[in-house]
């Protein structure tokens, strides 16, 4: 079985490699932006690429529980890294917007208040802040059962992120809708009635 191959392999991957590997695209994209590799409008390109990677990491994080529950693939040890990397990319996305794109506190504040897709994006980021802050072992121990409840905020953050993407493009484009559908679908898999139904099917 493939599962018997993946699980032992996943246990052997050193965690530092996951973090370093995860940050390589961030540095690489910035380098490309500096050297003309992101086309004639590198600021927008960088902003979009960081945002998209953040969303992909968040959706990947949502896959971990269903993979274990329905397919016995155990990647749980990567979940924290995925979440923290996603937070890092969202922060980079935000920084490009603040520092390279708008460069004016007035414009930034106006945009956050006036533009629904930016309000929604900022709310998504706000959801991720306490999650990143409580991702360490000490917080997990200290918060106990409350940690699990708090970390359900991930669901809110992913959906807000995907809605932000759907809203910022011109017209109804397929790509952002695919991310939204994936996020909603993966969250729905956690819903008890669906879970038990699928559990029987796979079990």
């Amino acid at each position: 079985m493939l599962v018997d191959l993946i699980n032992p392999l996943a246990r052997r991957v050193p965690m530092w490699l996951v973090y370093v590997g995860g940050l390589v695209p961030m540095v690489w994209l910035f380098w490309l932006g500096l050297t003309g590799g992101l086309g004639p409008e590198p600021i927008k390109a960088l902003e979009h690429r960081y945002g998209l990677i953040a969303l992909q990491l968040l959706v990947a994080g949502l896959c971990i529980t269903p993979l274990r529950r329905f397919l016995d693939v155990n990647l749980i040890r990567f979940r924290r890294a995925l979440g923290l990397l996603a937070f890092g990319y969202v922060a980079a996305h935000l920084l490009v917007w603040l520092v390279l794109d708008l460069r004016s506190l007035g414009l930034i504040w106006q945009d956050i208040l006036k533009r629904p897709y930016i309000t929604i994006g900022m709310l998504g980021f706000a959801c991720l802040v306490p999650l990143a802050a409580t991702s360490n072992n000490w917080s997990v121990r200290r918060l106990g059962a409350r940690w699990r409840v708090l970390h359900r905020l991930t669901y809110v953050a992913v959906v807000l992120g995907a809605v932000h993407f759907v809203m910022l493009v011109k017209g109804w484009q397929l790509e952002p809708l695919v991310y939204l559908a994936a996020a909603v679908g993966l969250i729905a898999l956690r819903w008890r009635p669906l879970r038990s139904m699928l559990g029987h099917a796979f079990g």
Partner: protein, 299 residues
Amino acid sequence: MHRPTKAPGWADVTPEAAYLNRRQIIAGGSALALGGIAGGVRAQGDLEPNTFEDISTYNNFYEFGTNKGDPARYAHEMTTEPWSVEIDGLVDKPGTYSFADLIDGMPMEERIYRFRCVEAWSMVIPWNGFELRHLLDRVGVQPGANYVAFETLYRPEEMRGTRSRIIDWPYREGLRMDEAMHPLTILATGLYDRPMPNQNGAPIRLVVPWKYGFKSIKSLVRISLVEEEPVTSWNQLAPREYGFYSNVNPTVDHPRWSQATERKVGGGLFSARQDTLMFNGYEDEVAELYAGMDLQQSF
């Protein structure tokens, strides 16, 4: 400035260095040459054209995909020879005109225009083309024609982006008659003295420099003179966001982003935004077209 050649070929390509020298003369003389009409090309300092590469690799042409690089990647799949444009509606000489017939005798000139996208980026582009009014005069506009409607080619087998129904193809645009007859409104057949790249709307496209870029419809196959305001694609799709007029206006924000500033493409990772100008800097020439209109309402 007047080029007798019908369609400049690759043999006519000017080396970039020579081109830049010559352009300075053209830009300096433009106020004179256009009889004061393009005298509004007054802020010469910021009229530094983008490179040919910028202009031909960063495009919105949804018929080939929604990413900025898609048109440059896929527009070569579009056949532009033979090409014909249908002219119909309230016109004395309706018919299907071949590209050669269409541009025959039209006074070709170069126009260095600012180009402002509704997405808040901009470029400066040296177009080659002729004033639309010359063509309209030749085909004879009949009384009662209040608007001009335009259509882009719709050929799904050569335009992969049209397989997604994001827009109700074909792409359509329109102008009020006085806008269409304005001397700043041109039909462009090239840029940088080269034939129009496919991704920029080969072989012939509209350019209306004081309106958001999406009004400057590409790869034209139909021009209709009509009585009523025609349906236009983005207005049809999202009327709250894209009005029929869509004049560049820093005081009327798009519902999802500010239109007060823009960033000129090509400045690299640290290029700052610049203020967007009323009517994209062509206020002196075109403001009178909208005298008495509430531009907050008729955006």
